[in-house]
Amino acid sequence: MGFIKNTVGRKVVIAVTGQLMVVFIIFHLPGNYFNPWAMTFPAIGSFIWIVRLALLLSFVLHAFFGIQSELENHKARSGPYAVTKSLSTTFAAKTMIWSGILSGVFIIFHLLNITVSVIDESFQDNYAVAIGYAIGLSAVCLHLYHGIASFFQTMGWNSEKSLPAVTSIGKGMALLLFGGFICIVILNRG
């Protein structure tokens, strides 16, 4: 069990589970535009349940280790500086815990809304729900703005030269996903 007790081990778990969810989100985007294609998913039968279980496990592990790390990091500081100046970090990186919590709430809402249909309000008909979706999507994509690029650093899948490019591609992907999803909300508002 040394792996998940180690700071790097946990970081790898957070990175891999996060990236699995990103892969799902990438497939989810065209799924929305090509509904017939997405509809073939249930036909795969047990496969969908394997994916669902993997995603659920990823969600739980990602949230657990993410929150645990954040609490430890908070303790590792001995109070704020009178003057702080950020040199290279981003707003997205500094707000990972908040964008993460907001994303988690949004995902649960989205599942209750669309997958389980417990919440019977659609963003097509209800302005408040549409705004909720826009905020949720912003949180997810802000999280990915730091998360996707971070995955490659955590896995060590970059080199001396490729790090800046990989970081830019990660940020670009997050923006593309945001653009893709927000169009669905805007275009379908009746």
Binding site: N6, A76, R77, V83, S88, K94, Q153, G156, S159
Partner: protein, 253 residues
């Protein structure tokens, strides 16, 4: 030039500490930052007041003692420079300067601007060494090291262990320091033998000392006076994942 200083004053580890406003008068542009503090201290001593306690040793940028956050940036505004090599020409006449010690739970303040950085030594003690007997000076061509590897090891070995990475990190993590040490030894044949065990015990020691977790802010790289790059953290991560396949992290050190 004349400056207004806001200096962190703390009598001891248990004192709460506060910022004190002091005036630095007739400071020459050619003075180093530490010489400016020396001048202020002389004035304080003449007035019968307690001088500012700050750490320094070599004053040539290689010892890593001068643990000061100047206007929110460890080692001040000039890139790749320690406080002792920072000169007053980098500041504006009549301006204010905030001087604070490194802030991290693993670095308790001893007095004013002096912190206890021995937590970094304990990370080294855990595994930042090679224990194989390498004997006397070997024949130069007996163990070949590619030029690129030697250069990378040399770059990593530039770390002076000053702790600016910890001071800059929003998480109070010592990952850049640990990564520099791990990478330095892992690049060379003598260090490879224990590479798997080393990365496990050093990262564990980092946690035990109360440092935080790395979350890729890269503030450390920007603050490092020796230009240690975050690519070394990626290298540490690769070494850690490789070590898992050898089961090196399961054995207790």
């Amino acid at each position: 030039m004349n400056l207004t200083l806001f200096v962190w004053r703390q009598k001891g580890p248990d004192d709460k500490g506060r910022l004190e406003q002091l005036n630095a008068k007739d400071i020459s542009l050619e003075m180093s930052f530490l010489e400016m503090l020396d001048t202020v201290n002389e004035g304080l001593i003449k007035d019968g007041k307690e001088p500012i306690a700050f750490d320094h040793d070599c004053r040539e940028g290689i010892c890593g003692m001068c643990s000061q956050v100047i206007n929110g940036v460890p080692h001040g505004p000039q890139e790749k420079t320690t406080v002792c090599q920072l000169h007053m020409r980098n500041f504006k006449d009549g301006g204010s300067i905030y001087i604070e010690p490194w802030r991290a739970r693993a670095f308790p303040v001893i007095k004013d601007l002096i912190v206890d950085r021995s937590a970094l030594d304990r990370i080294i003690q855990a595994g930042g060494y090679i224990s194989v007997h390498t004997g006397g000076v070997p024949e130069a061509n007996a163990v070949l090291v590619p030029k690129e590897d030697a250069d990378t090891a040399m770059d990593a070995s530039e770390c002076i262990g000053c702790g600016a990475c910890v001071a800059a990190c929003p998480n109070g993590s010592a990952m850049l320091f640990t990564a520099a040490k791990v990478s330095h030894l892992a690049m060379l044949p003598q260090g490879r033998t224990e590479a798997a065990r080393r990365v496990c015990v050093m990262t564990e020691a980092m946690m035990q000392q109360g440092f935080g977790n790395c979350s890729n802010h890269y503030e450390c790289q920007a603050a490092c006076p020796k230009g240690i790059r975050v690519q070394f953290i990626a290298k540490l991560n690769r070494e850690f994942i490789k070590a898992q396949f050898k089961g090196a992290c399961r054995k207790s050190p």
